[in-house]
Symmetry: C2
Subunit: 291 residues, 2 copies
């Protein structure tokens, strides 16, 4: 996706944060710390790309784009907490609770989750895209991020830890944990442009396919990447009996599956009748990535 989206998204993300000139300064700084430590901004870029495809400009897409990134960021903060994955590092930097303490990190996650919905439903957003689009956007994001979406996926991950899970459990876990938020991003792009349901469905299909492909490629990279320092496959010393796509299907079958999903994603874009080259390339890159 276009690199120039990233700076627009990041500036907008910080603009949506409350001012730090308040007693709860530590909270706002903690929220900002994790928002700043973002990666490739895949989800908000997808919102903007689908909005443009449906005829809306980036400005109209920014509230929804930032909201998805806030949800993604809160989930990482909570995921890193000692009672969850207990990770000290996130993208090479100390995780939120290592810097701000567990209590502030927990609350920063809660505040980011809440802010996502505040931003989507503000008077300013309504003036840009209308009340109905705001309402539908909130509902879509909440559905995919909640108990039977992303959070549900995290629970399935927790309860299948250190256990061998059959492929259907793995599929549901990856769908919910990873694909749901990507799917939400694609749908939100169409919703903020007040696009027809046929476009929303197509975006949804695209998001679901690239989301699952993303996770499968992740599993492949876990066994095929080489840890340059140690000269051995990454993850080889943390083998446990937990299932992955690769442990259940083997690398070759997984590559096939990722390619099939990528083709399905691209096929879903047909309904737009052109202008989809960025999204096609993005799906292809995701499937062929090496890190």
């Amino acid at each position: 996706m276009k690199a120039d989206y990233i700076s627009v998204i990041e500036n907008s993300l910080y603009d949506f944060l409350p001012d730090t000139d308040c007693r709860e300064k530590a909270l706002i700084e903690s929220m900002k710390y994790s928002l700043k430590a973002g990666g490739k901004r895949v989800r908000p870029s997808l919102v903007i790309e689908f909005a443009k495809l449906c005829g809306a400009d980036a400005q109209k897409a920014l509230p929804f784009a930032c909201a998805v990134e806030m949800i993604h960021t809160y989930s990482l903060i909570h995921d890193d907490l000692p009672c969850m994955d207990d990770d000290d590092l996130r993208r090479g930097k100390p995780s939120n609770h290592k810097v701000f303490g567990e209590d502030i990190a927990l609350l920063a996650g809660d505040a980011l989750l809440t802010l996502a919905f505040e931003v989507m439903s503000s008077d300013k957003t309504a003036a840009l895209i209308g009340d109905k689009a705001c309402r539908k956007g909130v509902n879509t994001l909440a559905k995919y991020a909640g108990a039977v979406g992303m959070v549900g996926g995290q629970v399935i991950d927790l309860i299948s830890e250190n256990k061998s899970a059959p492929i259907e459990v793995l599929r549901e876990m990856d769908y919910k944990k990873t694909a749901c938020l990507i799917k939400a991003a694609c749908e939100l792009g169409c919703i903020c442009a007040n696009a027809d349901d046929s476009y929303i469905s197509a975006a949804s299909k695209y998001g679901e396919c690239i989301g699952i492909a993303f996770q499968i490629v992740d599993d492949i990279l876990d066994v095929t990447s080489t840890d340059e320092e140690l000269g051995k496959p990454v993850g080889s010393d943390e083998q446990n009996s937990k299932s992955t796509y690769v442990s259940l299907l083997g690398v070759e079958k997984c590559r096939e599956l990722a390619n099939e999903l990528t083709e399905q994603a691209v096929k879903a874009l047909d309904v737009f009748g052109g202008g989809t080259s960025e999204l096609e390339q993005f799906a292809a890159k995701l499937a062929c990535r090496t890190k």
Copy 2:
């Protein structure tokens, strides 16, 4: 508030939960456990009462009423976690994480927070009250529950722990931590009835006044209640230097303040021109309560 609201609210709360016939069953049960362990359902009852005052029936008010209770419930689950207040009991029952584990409790809180916004923005809710009311409701609740509302108040509480705080810090903390969500409930009642701004402002004022009065009375009860088993004032063995309204102003001045706030709350209802006796009695009861 009318006792018959409680069963309507509770049935509706459980109806909004996802089905437990899924892999993430433990999550849904954890959400239900804390929703069930509710108290007097003050916040949702206020939503219904204000909705009725503005001409909407209880059915129209239920999505917003339940959403506020979900937010309140999530905040209690997260508050009880070991990295926060580390409370093993909540209303005499084991707290959520003692029953379901810290990881599930954390995620149940996240899922309830998310569900609140899903319920407020659903197609069903929009069919009852319209897109604009849904959108305004989400925005109002998010604003009062977020970084410069309830969550902000929790942060101010954390950073002033074991420290003597001046009255203005205490006032801001109590306003944000306790009054904001009560204020939100009162405003939401008017919003779901598509009431005029003058009614929303009046409800907001009422909510703010009873919210702060509630906290002041809490502080009074902390020093005047008798622990029946031990025959000594509750809290007397956990004295620290933390400020309360009572430690800063004394019991008499606090009672005066609570009465003044109650009068202001009742006065704010004038704009409705009658039909406010339930709300008047509720404010008075809150100020005179003994537990």
